[in-house]
Symmetry: C2
Subunit: 231 residues, 2 copies
């Protein structure tokens, strides 16, 4: 099919920046390996063209599902911004609307219809490097900064964890994303004191050493007030 227009136009894509904590690679981003030029063989954010009459966030969800098999009603996408430098794609004028989200530890991606490779890559190997296609390294850097500041007020940190978790695991999320250790005692008091943030299951879980930790579930709170201060 051929489309015609009297005015200049752009191609519009939706790209998804999905963070997760992986046991082997730490804070990582879900990427697909490009199977065709340009940037063939490089890593790229899952994403693709927005369909006619398709909402932007729906396009992002669809592309994530088609290219990585990741989907679900619980999945929340927040818009990161539009990236539209004239030469960011060497073929055409392509403007990308980037979205970001956080995935839990049990998400298992699967290569999509395009049969490209799918993998988690650690963010600290991506931000300064040239391993990524297009301007996706910039998008990852912007998204990482957004994630870091979001942890102060939002409940996104809980999304990294399983349905039930310990306070130490939640603290580990903050320490990994912020890149610095937090005082265990103060953190404990702080997060258990936020109304509606954590629900105690009453059960405890024994680790290798030490006193068993309490098991918590996410509570109904949607924000952390007052915010957790980044050191």
């Amino acid at each position: 099919m051929t489309y015609t227009s009297e005015y200049p136009f752009v191609y519009l894509t939706a790209d998804v920046l999905a963070f997760a904590l992986r046991p082997d690679t730490g804070l990582s981003v879900l990427l697909v390996k490009r199977g065709s030029p340009p940037y063939k063989g490089r890593w790229a954010l899952p994403g693709g063209f927005v369909d006619e009459r398709e909402d932007l966030v729906r396009a992002a969800r669809r592309e994530l599902r088609e290219e990585t098999g990741v989907s679900g009603r619980r999945l929340r996408l927040e818009q990161l911004g539009a990236y539209g430098a004239p030469r960011r794609d060497p073929r055409h004028r392509v403007v990308s609307v980037a979205w970001w989200t956080v995935l839990g530890p049990d998400v298992v991606p699967a290569a999509g219809d395009d049969a490209g490779e799918v993998a988690w890559l650690p963010v600290d190997e991506l931000v300064g490097s040239r391993r990524m296609a297009f301007d996706h390294a910039t998008i990852v850097a912007d998204g990482l900064e957004r994630l870091r500041s979001s942890l102060e007020r939002s409940t996104w940190a809980l999304t990294f964890l399983s349905e039930e978790f310990t306070v130490a695991e939640l603290r580990s999320v903050y320490e990994t994303v912020w890149g610095r250790p937090l005082d265990p005692g103060n953190f404990q008091r702080k997060v258990t004191g936020v109304p509606g943030l954590l629900e105690d299951t009453g059960r405890r879980v024994g680790s290798a050493r030490g006193r068993p930790a309490g098991l918590y579930r996410p509570g109904p709170a949607t924000e952390i007030r007052p915010p957790l201060a980044r050191p």
Copy 2:
């Protein structure tokens, strides 16, 4: 000229949300009256189509200049986000990248080439109303929230004021945008204590009543640390 494409495409516009404090209307937004359908006669954000090979932020600056006469090297635009609901423009699929900025009190807009009317409209008459074209009321609401939170950490508040100003005028900016009074004494101490935020000119300005206030200039600081807390 006719453009052709084998894939679906979108039209891309750049819209600018310019805030200012006007003596008559308070916190206001710079708008243009649409002279042609759709939404003829309604108010809209200044904006228009992004040219081929034109950077997004340059397009926003150009549209603001062409439609309102507002320009200048000092003008900073920050991206608010992309708005692309399928039916937001009844004619075509149009995705708008919205940008926001703050203008000083001496900016005098002038109707542009399209000869449409240009005016400042107060934000509180816009957010809930149907006076605006397209989804621009949503963009104004999102931008207002962004402005409010930006005042906590950024130096955007200074941009509302003249080159020289008093602490009381700066406080008035915060009170107007946040919609609640602030303690004059505490505000004074706080902002004069932020390193590099304000430079004392040494001069004083006499108002109608009371002790004359010190005159300040913006300093080199680019952020307010620790942030001013919204009450």
